[in-house]
């Protein structure tokens, strides 16, 4: 089989050389951008200095990883990162699918377009602007929310001093921002459903809810699962911009808002240790890899068709 495999490859190369040639740019892209930089992982194991360069610097083993558990917050960072991402992925996809169904069912074309554009807009706002919006809504002295609260005769709420509010706020703004973008994929899937199915269902007397339940949802289920699987690969990667812009260096909120990425940023910008940043990145990657392989294996056991590899 193996001998045959090699033989087949050369044969295939001869036969489909145009296709292989077309594959070249993509291969080069991934080699240069995704595989070549992997050499930099070695940073995590050295005490880097400029003169000796990457491979000349002394090897220090796992010393660069120590800072991750020194302050006993590795658990909290991992927990926050994963929990946020699980909520982002699940709730995000559900909301996107739901909005896609609603938009697809609108019959007035102009209204449909306008709605879609409006939902898409937040995707283009930068996180810096988002942070200003959040600040103006929630600040203590003259935020909009506290303005309403005090007008109703209550004490103002100290959002920027209470960690408990932030998981909800951050989740809300993240989903709000990505809704329009994520919706597009589902919308495309729904538009791909043959009209005959709907017509047949209407003839059979199905109402709109039944059509959603028996036609649309089964059709978007594979899309949902594939997007979910892709997203799980990045589950250890926090949304740095989102958290850093909204929370910044406000230590009061770290209990619920500090993720691996913001922690690494704080540490690597305040000390000269290149190795530590890389070490944290490596931890994220390895953990993420284990997670993807595990989830994929679980799905494969249940339904071979849906697994990624």
């Amino acid at each position: 089989m193996k001998k045959n495999g090699k033989h087949l490859f050369i044969k295939d190369l001869k036969k489909n050389w145009v296709l292989w040639l077309m594959l070249m740019p993509v291969t080069a892209f991934f080699l240069i951008n995704n595989y070549l930089p992997m050499v930099g992982i070695y940073f995590a194991f050295t005490d880097f200095n400029f003169r000796d360069g990457l491979f000349g610097s002394p090897f220090v083993g796992l010393k660069n990883f120590e800072f991750l558990w020194k302050s006993n917050i590795l658990w909290r960072l991992t927990r926050n990162t994963i929990l946020y991402n699980i909520v982002f992925i699940l709730l995000g996809n559900v909301c996107q699918a739901f909005m896609a169904i609603l938009v697809s069912l609108l019959s007035c074309k102009r209204f449909k377009k306008i709605t879609q554009t409006m939902i898409f807009m937040p995707y283009f706002t930068s996180y810096v602007i988002l942070s200003v919006v959040v600040y103006n809504l929630f600040n203590y002295e003259n935020g909009l929310i506290n303005g309403i609260v005090t007008n109703m005769g209550h004490e103002p709420i100290n959002f920027y001093g209470t960690p408990a509010y932030w998981p909800f706020l951050i989740t809300f703004f993240h989903i709000w921002k990505g809704l329009g973008y994520g919706m597009v994929v589902y919308l495309a899937t729904i538009l791909g459903i043959s009209n005959e199915l709907h017509e047949a269902a209407i003839v059979d007397g199905a109402n709109i809810l039944q059509r959603i339940k028996y036609i649309i949802i089964p059709h978007i289920k594979p899309t949902f699962i594939i997007l979910l699987l892709y997203a799980i690969g990045g589950i250890m990667r926090g949304q740095f911009q989102l958290f850093y812009q909204i929370v910044g260096n406000n230590g009061l909120l770290f209990e619920t808002t500090d993720i691996i990425d913001t922690y690494v940023y704080r540490v690597s910008t305040t000390s000269m240790e290149f190795g530590m940043g890389t070490a944290a990145g490596l931890y994220q990657s390895v953990f993420g890899l284990v997670l993807v392989v595990t989830v994929n294996w679980l799905i494969k056991r249940k339904d071979d068709e849906l697994a990624l590899f």
Partner: protein, 540 residues
């Protein structure tokens, strides 16, 4: 004409070689130097050796025969007319050392990260601005810069002569000079509390020369003008100097005679070898209680940790600030222009505490990047920038008659195009040379103040050195603990300093516990040991 220049060049090269041979032989003799030193000079001597071969094989001064392009990295944002000035500079440089230079600025935001990026990525960079607050010592210890000891003798003899051996020693990191300090006027710290004097007079409030008076002043302003923002300070993760994470706390520590040291180990200049453990002291508790009181009184916004209010004292953004004299002058100028009915006044910290120290030479400097392709030419350019009045003034002030003029008394006066290239707008502070540079008439009083502070410094035990800034910590033994501690500071110390905690005692306990877990006492012990060695070595 050309022949003459060649002759001069040849002469220069010969002198260079001779000088380098001389230093070489000295380095060879210096048997009692420590290992690291001799290692460094070994590396240099081998490099120097190859240059010697080069110059001897090519008779007519190979160094300058080829035109090279240099890159000079400066801090901050580039002024609008930078390119124009750069062209002028290049005309002169081409003629003098057959080189052109292009200036790049790091911009103000995230300057330190960009520095590290430039130095580690191998990007073209020959000359670069350094500062102790931009981690000069750490970068140098990690070999980011080119060793200058040889180059000073060979290519920058005039620069070398500008400073005393004491200053050069202060620039040394692990025995090697990596950066050339500025040769401007000596300044002595000079931290100021600047406040709105018109408000103080209007409501008949005390002069904030003690902490109690400051509190009374702020309270008075708050009571009379509740809409006025009192204090707008920043949070930062800065660990380079004082481990402060909320800037507002400086309003309290301003009145303390201690110099803020690393890891809360403060220095009392009357007895520098004894370190004072601030975080474990009653003073810390007292300070944090004061900060809580201030926060509760509403002296700063409850959102201050996430969002610094806009504005500064010159446009009504706050009523008291902590700055140096140059900043005060800028504020005053703005106030005179925009709000003529306002008034600013100040007290000087050194005058209140009776402790003044000169600014450390590493505060401003110029280094040659380790990956520079033409270190010799870069060194020559640096020498020209620091000693040639025409070049120095071009870079610092722009084009005469356009961006500035000089009045009859020799003071700098804004020119018609000043906005496009303001005074020292290129941020090339490290090239200042008191012999040839220009000052504004308005800053004359600042130098007068520094002369006064110099008198205070003389009265103290150590008039010539800033002991704390001269110390370089070697954190390699506890880098993991240090990184963990930094994170603890942002999380626990910031809210304490900003007075955002319910119960100060409990919060201090929690903070110290977390710091202990991160390894505070281990860090402090190691640091104290290093400090003791340092004090012993220099006799403090």
């Amino acid at each position: 004409m050309k022949g003459k220049k060649m002759m001069q060049l040849k002469k220069l090269v010969t002198i260079c070689i001779a000088a380098s041979m001389l230093t070489l032989s000295f380095a060879g003799c210096g048997g009692n130097e420590n290992e690291k030193d001799s290692q460094v000079s070994d590396v240099e001597s081998s490099q120097e050796g190859s240059t010697v071969v080069d110059t001897s094989t090519e008779e007519n001064g190979p160094d300058l025969s080829e035109q090279v392009e240099l890159v000079f990295y400066l801090y901050g944002d580039a002024p609008a007319d930078m390119k124009k000035v750069e062209d002028k500079i290049n005309e002169i440089l081409l003629e003098k050392i057959n080189a052109t230079i292009s200036f790049r600025h790091t911009t103000y935001t995230d300057a330190l990260s960009k520095y590290k990026m430039v130095l580690s990525s191998g990007e073209d960079c020959d000359l670069i601005y350094t500062a102790n607050w931009l981690e000069y010592a750490n970068l140098a210890a990690k070999q980011a810069f080119y060793p200058l000891d040889e180059l000073l003798d060979t290519c920058m003899p005039e620069v070398k002569a500008l400073f005393t051996e004491e200053v050069w020693n202060a620039m040394r990191i692990d025995g090697t000079i990596y950066s050339v300090p500025d040769a401007g006027r000596t300044t002595y710290g000079g931290r100021l509390h600047v406040w709105r004097e018109d408000l103080r007079k209007k409501y008949d409030l005390p002069v904030p020369d003690t902490f109690e008076n400051l509190e009374a002043y702020l309270e008075g302003v708050k009571a009379n003008e509740p809409e006025q923002t009192l204090i707008a300070r920043n949070t930062s993760t800065s660990t380079t100097s004082t481990f402060k994470t909320f800037d507002g706390v400086t309003l309290k520590t301003f009145y303390s005679p201690y110099q803020k040291g690393y890891y809360s180990l403060d220095v009392d200049y009357s007895n520098p070898s004894e370190l004072f453990d601030y975080w474990h002291s009653d003073l810390f508790k007292e300070d944090m209680e004061a900060m809580k009181r201030w926060a509760d009184k509403g002296f700063w916004s409850k959102n201050i940790l996430s969002h610094k209010p806009e504005g500064d004292i010159s446009n009504g953004g706050e009523v008291i600030t902590n700055c140096n004299y140059a900043q005060y002058l800028t504020f005053r100028e703005t106030v005179e222009k925009e709000h003529p009915d306002w008034e600013l006044a100040y007290v000087v910290r050194e005058e209140l505490t009776g402790v003044a120290t000169p600014q450390h030479p590493t505060t401003d400097g110029t280094a040659i990047a380790f990956n520079s392709k033409n270190p010799e030419r870069a060194a020559m350019a640096l020498q020209l920038f620091m000693t040639d009045a025409e070049l120095e003034r071009l870079l610092l002030y722009g084009i005469e008659g356009e961006h500035y003029t000089v009045d009859a008394n020799g003071y700098y006066v804004d020119g018609p195009q000043n906005a496009n290239y303001p005074y020292e707008g290129s941020s090339a502070w490290s090239l200042k040379n008191a012999e040839i540079d220009l000052i504004k008439e308005s800053s004359q009083e600042m130098y007068d103040l520094h002369a006064e502070l110099g008198e205070i410094a003389k009265a103290s035990g150590y008039p010539m050195v800033d002991i704390l800034s001269g110390f370089r910590e070697d954190s390699s033994a506890y880098s993991a603990e240090r990184a963990a501690l930094v994170s603890v500071l942002v999380e626990y110390l910031t809210p304490l300093q900003a007075g955002m905690v319910e119960d100060v005692d409990a919060a201090i306990e929690e903070f110290l516990e977390a710091a202990e877990t991160a390894g505070l006492s281990m860090i402090q012990d190691s640091y104290k040991e290093q400090w003791a060695d340092y004090c012993e070595q220099y006799g403090y």
